[in-house]
């Protein structure tokens, strides 16, 4: 009952296969790409939050990377300057980011469409400027380094493989929680708000409050991802959290499908692979293609939104559903 109503044998199988893949990838199949796999996990978390916001309430956020950044910076500052335990730092960062998101959401969710987009854009850039300019705390344009690893008791997460499992543990947890929320009363409320805000209000749904809650949830996810990123990369700078980073996350959400949770992983995987791997490879053979990621994001964004507005992943999944249904029908009539 409390889950997507379409739960059946297939989805259990799919989840099991996914988990199996998660274990096999860094150990057997793509061991040399563990860094990229870690990044995919991190960006999946950021993207899921955005998908929930954009897909379920129809609100646009062009500044989501800012929350990713606050998580990273707060974790970094607290664990380097103030010698705070990284786990505690991550918690504090998440709470602080959540509060920030809550305060921001109050005035901006009265806006709609373009205006809302612009507000998130503006806020995202302001926060990025603060990252860049408050050098005393953030290390300015050069950022911070020497960020320690996570550790539990004596066990330190200093191996890539260890960090991989830590990141994906968080990521899968975040995905499952998102899944649970979407299949619940809150999820119906969100979908209702997206379908028709007036009708949702008429059945007692406080649209403003829900939008705020989902915005905060997305921000907290991004913050946790940011903390994981900081303790993985060990050094961070403002450029990872600028407008282009927000665009990248939007691209991941668009490719995955704005209202799809597992699609977020697909989108994050695709775009991360393109930006980290494919372009690097191409860049070796054709050095002038250094800025190509920008061109490709642009192209992907346009093509996906024009032709597959539901997102690549969701469209593929729908196509698969239709194909399976047609096969079943044909089987029934013969």
């Amino acid at each position: 009952m409390l889950a997507t109503l379409k739960k059946n044998r297939w989805s259990y199988l799919a989840v099991a296969a996914f988990l199996l893949l998660l274990v096999l990838l860094p150990t057997q199949l793509l061991a040399e790409k563990t860094s990229i796999l870690i990044l995919i996990g991190i960006y999946s978390m950021v993207t899921v939050g955005l998908c929930l916001l954009m897909g379920y309430t129809g609100q646009v956020s062009l500044g989501h990377a800012a929350f990713f950044g606050t998580g990273a910076y707060l974790s970094a500052i607290l664990s380097t300057r103030y010698d705070l335990n990284p786990w505690l730092a991550m918690l504090v960062a998440a709470i602080a980011t959540g509060i920030l998101a809550y305060l921001i959401s109050y005035p901006i969710f009265k806006l709609r469409g373009n205006y809302l987009a612009m507000a998130t854009l503006g806020l995202g850039i302001i926060i990025w400027i603060l990252f860049r300019e408050l050098s005393q705390y953030t290390g300015g344009p050069d950022g911070l380094s020497g960020i320690p690893n996570f550790s539990i008791g004596g066990f330190v997460f200093d191996e890539k493989l260890e960090r991989y499992f830590l990141v994906w543990l968080f990521c899968v947890g975040a995905l499952l929680i998102a899944q649970n929320v979407v299949g619940s009363r809150a999820g119906r409320a969100l979908k209702g708000i997206h379908g028709s805000e007036a009708a949702a209000e008429s059945v007692g749904i406080n649209a403003a409050q829900f939008k705020m809650k989902i915005f905060v949830l997305g921000a907290v996810y991004a913050s946790l991802a940011g903390s994981l990123y900081a303790h993985h990369a060990h050094a961070i700078g403002p450029n990872a959290f600028d407008f282009m980073a927000s665009v990248m996350v939007v691209t991941m959400a668009a490719v995955g499908g704005l209202a799809s949770i597992w699609g977020a992983v697909f989108g994050a995987a695709t775009i991360t692979y393109i930006s980290q791997d494919a372009i690097v490879e191409l860049g070796r053979s054709y050095p002038r293609l250094a800025e190509l990621d920008v061109v490709i994001y642009g192209l992907i964004l346009m093509l996906v939104m024009i032709f597959l507005p539901k997102g690549l992943f969701v469209s593929l999944r729908d196509a698969l559903d239709t194909w399976r249904r047609r096969r079943a029908q044909r089987g029934a009539t013969t």
Partner: protein
């Protein structure tokens, strides 16, 4: 002595220079079907919007169950027990018919993000209840067979029934129906009348805005007539039919059309 469930006192709403609702005193009794009629532009939907909290009154009061509503926003009035259907069918096309009705249970359930996220037993229990009740309401309006279908695949008449089921799921004390008969054929209107009576028999008071006179005269126990924002008459259905002012108001409309 029958009680008033809903009362408006000198309720007024002005949009700039236009007074859509002008010092309307209205009283809807508990357990009765009250109907608000009037020519086009008389202010009926505005009146509903005021009661449901979509608009803020320019002046006057709305009293529900003896307590003033005090500018409660729509989601609050739903929680207090005022449900409504809208003139234009606004269904959630991103979920099934049953899920549409389940959203109606929102104000009668409590579990939130936290319980949902962790799949706590409380969440499961409430979901069971929500789902069960939603099915009951869906069956009540006769759409039990359509539970898994997308609402947009239903014909208009059934879509309207769905909005009624959704409103009923909020377990209201007062149901505001805004032109439920619009776009229905004669047979559908008859089923609608029976449904409305059944809802009243369940203990829910109803206020009905409707253009179809036969429908109104058939079920309304009390009729209030608006014209140009003002109340010009009220009484039983047969009294209203003979009221000269009412006839004049409607004739005026007919003349204008010609």
């Amino acid at each position: 002595m029958t009680r008033s469930l809903l009362e408006t006192k000198a309720l007024t709403k002005a949009f700039g220079g236009l007074t859509a609702v002008d010092k309307v005193d209205l009283s809807a009794e508990v357990g009765k079907i009250t109907s608000v009629i009037g020519p086009n532009g008389a202010g009926k939907t505005t009146l509903f919007n005021l009661i449901a909290g979509v608009y803020m009154p320019s002046s006057g009061d709305i009293v529900f169950e003896g307590k003033p509503l005090g500018n409660a926003p729509p989601h609050k009035s739903a929680a207090l027990g005022i449900a409504r259907t809208l003139q234009h069918v606004l269904l959630f096309d991103n979920m099934t018919t049953l899920e549409n009705v389940m959203t109606g249970q929102h104000p009668r359930s409590r579990y939130g993000f936290f319980e949902a996220a962790l799949r706590l037993p409380k969440a499961h229990r409430e979901e069971e209840t929500i789902s069960l009740k939603a099915r009951q309401y869906l069956n009540l309006v006769g759409l039990g067979m359509c539970a898994e279908r997308n609402p947009l695949s239903l014909p208009l008449g059934q879509q309207k029934l769905l909005t009624i089921a959704r409103a009923l799921a909020t377990e209201p004390k007062l149901l505001l129906l805004d032109e439920p008969g619009a776009g229905l054929n004669a047979l559908e209107k008859q089923s609608l009348s029976e449904l409305i009576r059944r809802i009243r028999d369940m203990g829910i008071s109803i206020v009905l805005v409707e253009h179809d006179m036969d429908l109104v005269m058939g079920i309304a126990e009390w009729v209030i007539v608006l014209d140009s924002g003002q109340k010009i008459a009220e009484g039983t259905a047969s009294q209203i039919q003979k009221d000269k002012r009412v006839i004049a108001a409607y004739l005026g409309e007919e003349e204008a059309v010609e």
